[in-house]
Every structure is written in C-alpha cells, then in structure tokens.
Amino acid sequence: MKPIQRHLLTALAAASLAACSSVPLDSTPVESRTGSPVVSGAGNAANDAAGSQTKVASVDVTSGSSMAASNLPRIVYFDFDSYVVGDQYRPVIEANAKELVKDPKEHMAVQGHTDDRGGSEYNLALGQRRADAVVKSLTLLGAQPGQLEAVSFGKERPAMQGENEEAWAKNRRVELASK
C-alpha cells in the first residue's frame, strides 16, 4: 500500500471513530443564585454585584464528521512553515482537478492543517494559507473556484499525536474532502 493511501485510510478511520462518538448528552442547566447581604458591617465594599446571575446553561452540539469514501489520493503534506505545494504532490492535485473538471457538480472542502507548535489562531491562519495554495493549484488545472472551499482546522485536528518531527510532518497537511 502506498503511504498516501495508508494515511487516507487512517484519516478515514479517525473520521469514522469521531462520528461514532457523537452521542449527545443530556444538557442539564445548572442554576445558582447569589447570596444577598443581610447586614453591612463597618466595611464600605458592600456586595454591589449581589443579585446578579451566575447561572451557566449547558448546550450540546456534539455531531460527527464526515469524509466521503473515495479512491483518490486526498492529502498533500507541507514542509515546516511552508505553504508551497511540493512537486511530489502533483499527481494528487492532477487527479482531484481531473475529477472536478469531469463533474462540475462535485464540490470539495480543502482543509488546511498545521503541527501543534504555537498558538491556535495563528496556526489557523497558516492552515488557511495552505488550503488556499491547494485551491489555487486545483483551479490552475481547470477546477472552478465555486467547486472548492478552502478552510482551516489549524492545529486542532492532528493526524498523529506526538511531540516529534514525525508527528509534526504528518500534521502539516491539506486534506481534500468531498462535500
């Protein structure tokens, strides 16, 4: 099995596991009331906030992720701090562009990811830049911009856990997902 296909299967397995874990819990609102002062002492810092709400209502939006099964290679990896689509991924780009050109009704989410070093928001922007680069590569080969949405998960959805170069390299990626 080629490495890319193996990664794809890993990603699919992870996605289906995530889907299986989507059991909504009962959301139980938690209510509490603030105590009210009955006597004020010599202090002047009376509880001016007394009576305000401290309630927190719980909300559950648990839902699964979906990634359509496909035989196409779907992952492009990136070097550290880079958003250049490497030549070795030309076959991935060409295969997906071909499918998009063949079927104009086909839509794909182009999902950028980073390794887990640094803050969540800057990584989100870096992942977006990688996704934008893949969208550009696909449209240069004839895919229509309207068929593609570049989005980013930043460092939030690592393909591999670990604080080492192997994990980081696997996590710096763009995944193509049918919509």
Binding site: L17, A18, S21, S22, S27, P29, S32, R33, T34, G35, S36, P37, V38, S40, G41, A42, G43, N44, A45, A46, N47, A49, A50, S52, Q53, T54, K55, V56, A57, S58, V59, D60, V61, T62, S63, G64, S65, S66, A109, R117, G118, G119, S120, E121, Y122, L124, A125, L126, Q128, R129, D132, E149, A150, V151, S152, F153, G154, E156, R157, E163
Partner: protein, 425 residues
C-alpha cells in the same frame, strides 16, 4: 490605603524554602524580592458545617495574587473577637482576618468576617452575608476581594470568572469557572474543536470559534441561557473574535476575500466591513480597553509580529521588534503592558512588553516552553495562560513579573484557551 510600603515584607529565603500551605493550588514562588504583605486568616468558626473552607479559599486567593504572604495560624477567633494586636505583631502579621459560618433557618449560611490592620491596631471593617450553600466559594472569593481592596487600594479579581476549553479524547467542552479554576460549569459540549473564547464586556456572553459545521465559525453564546447564534459563517474560515469595549461589535478574522484579514462585524453578525488589506495574515485582534487601538498579529513584515491600528481604522504601527515570531497579543486594562507569546527556537514563552517606554525590551516571565493564549485579569495584576507540563496542557496564573505562579486544578483533560472575564459578576 492602610499600609504603606515599609510594612511590606521582603520575602525571605526561609519563606521561599517553605512548602506552600495550600498544596491543592500549587502556588509556585520564584525569585526574591517580591513585596508581600504578611496576613493571617484564621479558620472561620464552624466553617466545616458549610461543606467548604472559606478561610482556605481566602488564603489561596490572597497567596495567588502575589500581593500577600500567608502567616500560618491555628488561632481560634471569629469576627466578634478582640485579638491582641501586640501578639499578632509578634507573629509578624500585618493584617488579620477572622470570621464565622452559621446555618440559617432557610438553609442558607450566614457568613461573617472582620479584617484588622495589626500594625495600626485598627478595625478595617467586615461584612455579613446570607449565602446559598452552592455559593459558599463565591462568598469566600468576595471576602478575599474585600481584603485585597482594603489592603492594596485596588479591586480584587477573586470573584470574577474565567472561561476555557477542555479536550478529553474527541470531546471538547467550553467551561466557565471561578477565577481559581474551581466550580467549573459546562457552557458547551462538542465533538469538534472550540477555540478563542472571548467574554463580552459585561460578562454575559462568550464569543468563540466552533468547528461543529466542519469549519471555523464564530458564535456568540449567552452564558446564562445557552442561547447562541453564528455571527460569522462566511465562505472559508471565520475566527479570532474580540469584543469592542462597548460590546456593540466585534473584530474577527475572515478568509472570505482571500487570505486571513481583519473585519469589524456587528454583535448579531450585521454589517461586516474589512479593516485590513495586507497580502499576508492579519489575525488575533484585541481592543485596548479605551477602544483607541486594535492590537493584532500580522506577518506583513515577513514574520509574525504584533502591530496596532488606530481606531477608527487608521494608521498601523509595529509594536514588537525582538525575535522572529511574536503572536497572541493581550493588552493590560490600563493599556500600559502588552503580554504575548514569543518563540525562541522551539520554545514559546509568555513575555511582556512595557508599552509606555518606546525603547523597552520584552521580558520572558516563564520558564516553560509551550505557553499560549495569555489573558489579563480585569485589575491587570495577573495573567492567565495555557502551557504544557509533563505532556499535559494546563492553565496557570502569574503575576506580571513572573514571580508568583499558580497552576489551576485539572483532572485528566487538556485545558486550553483561557480567558479572564470582567468584573461585575
């Protein structure tokens, strides 16, 4: 202010070597020369009957603030006592707190306390509150706020709230807790990541980024009712919400026009308008509390640095110059200090920069290597941030000089993305 600086005690080597009396909060003290007021907080009479220990909560609050050093005591006192000031002076305490807890007929507890200035031998006042059993911790935090304000002249932040995200396996939870990390309550459960929570100025709503729609979407969520609305769900990614000081609009990062750029958008998602037009990444906006500046991260100069823009959107100037990777800006409420994450090699360290001095150099205030997401307490005296300790993501508070740090309690989940709420709970 009741104590002048000569009453503050320079922390001694003996004290630094002593184990913390309140190990559950893991208050760490590093360095020497911290000026701390020595205070004794006696066990409240009958406090065990409330199921909480208000005196222990008050001691931990005061210790974590960095402004106090706890003088151990096993004295039996309450707010009606007439303690011998000479005796407490001999124990090197400059201030003393005593109190009591009594059950009322309706099931609530009457919590009373008194604070003394031991040096002057004067009574600094006290209070009595009828407290629902579920609010005992809050009552103790409010007493700590009273003590802090009386003795330092500044408002305490112990009764404020924090928000943060926990991750346990594939479950992400947005939580709201007391400022000491206790009493956490669930605001949102999701099977997808949640990042970047931001409190509205009045502390009623949280804006955040949720990936529940398989992409980054900005939501605003009423904490008390659970009502929520997507305010930015445009094509591409929608992220990094920051409330304007008046709560009427937010700054967000949108990729809808290409790149990651800053926009203002109304609190209900109305009237999005682009405010930056760089070729690079512009994100992580934060308003100064006076609303005059918008701080943000941009790589327009080739590496991520912190910039600020005049508001209404105008002139942009670069703020950080040292190092090649500075992100996650937070501005102190008085606008004088910037906290952010600075990368050096493979370490990401919480740093501060004096904004009042144009030539100031940044100061790294931790010795950890994966610091993230600093947020100021509303009095500007503490920062909360996330870092990695023994492979787990935990939350810490620190004084601005980095000398007093406390690790907030955690279980097995990773704790991330902390943000400190405003006054006024």
């Amino acid at each position: 202010m009741s104590f002048d600086r000569r009453h503050f005690c320079v922390a001694s080597a003996a004290f630094l070597a002593a184990p913390s009396a309140f190990a559950q909060f893991k208050v760490e003290i590093s360095g020497v020369g911290a000026t701390q007021l020595p205070i004794a907080v006696a066990r409240f009479r009958d406090e065990d009957r409330s199921g909480q220990s208000p005196s222990a909560i008050i001691r931990a609050d005061l210790e974590r603030s960095g402004a106090f050093r706890i003088v151990d005591t096993s004295a039996s006192l309450d707010e009606t006592s007439q303690p011998s000031m000479g005796e407490w002076r001999a124990r090197a305490a400059d201030a003393l707190v005593a109190g009591s807890v009594a059950r009322l007929a309706d099931g609530r507890f009457d919590v009373r306390f008194k604070l003394w200035d031991v040096v002057k031998g004067s009574d600094l006042g006290g209070q009595s509150s009828a407290v629902d059993p579920s609010e005992m911790r809050l009552a103790a935090h409010r007493i700590a706020d009273f003590v802090y304000e009386k003795l330092t002249g500044e408002k305490g932040v112990f009764s404020t709230r924090i928000a943060y995200v926990t991750r346990a396996g594939a479950r992400y939870t947005l939580r709201v807790a007391d400022a000491d990390g206790e009493n956490g309550q669930v605001a949102l459960n999701s099977g997808q990541p949640i990042i970047s929570p931001a409190w509205s100025p009045k502390g009623k709503e949280l804006a955040y980024v949720s990936f529940e729609r398989q992409k980054a979407v900005v939501f605003v969520h009423n904490v008390a009712t659970g009502e929520r609305r997507a305010i930015a769900d445009f094509r591409g990614s929608n992220s990094a919400p920051a409330w304007s000081p008046d709560g009427q609009y937010l700054a967000v990062t949108l990729s809808r026009d290409g790149g990651s750029q800053l926009f203002f958008i109304g609190r209900n998602g109305e009237n999005p308008r682009r405010i930056t037009t760089s070729q690079g990444i512009d994100t992580e906006a934060q308003f100064s509390s006076d609303g005059r500046f918008l701080y943000f991260t941009s790589d327009r100069g080739g590496s991520p640095q912190i910039y600020r823009m005049a508001v209404p959107p105008g002139k942009v100037e670069r703020v950080t110059f040292s190092g090649s990777y500075n992100t996650s800006p937070a501005v102190s409420p008085d606008g004088k200090t910037l906290a952010y994450t600075a990368r050096s090699g493979n370490t990401f360290r919480l740093s501060t920069l004096d904004l009042t001095n144009p030539g100031a150099q940044p100061v790294a205030i931790t010795d950890t290597s994966d610091d993230e997401h600093p947020s100021f307490a509303p009095n500007g005296r503490l920062l909360i941030y996330a870092t990695r300790v023994q492979g787990r993501s935990v939350l810490m508070t620190t004084t601005l000089d980095g000398k007093i740090k406390a690790r907030l309690p955690s279980t097995t989940a990773d704790l991330r993305e902390p943000v400190w709420g405003p006054y006024g709970r």
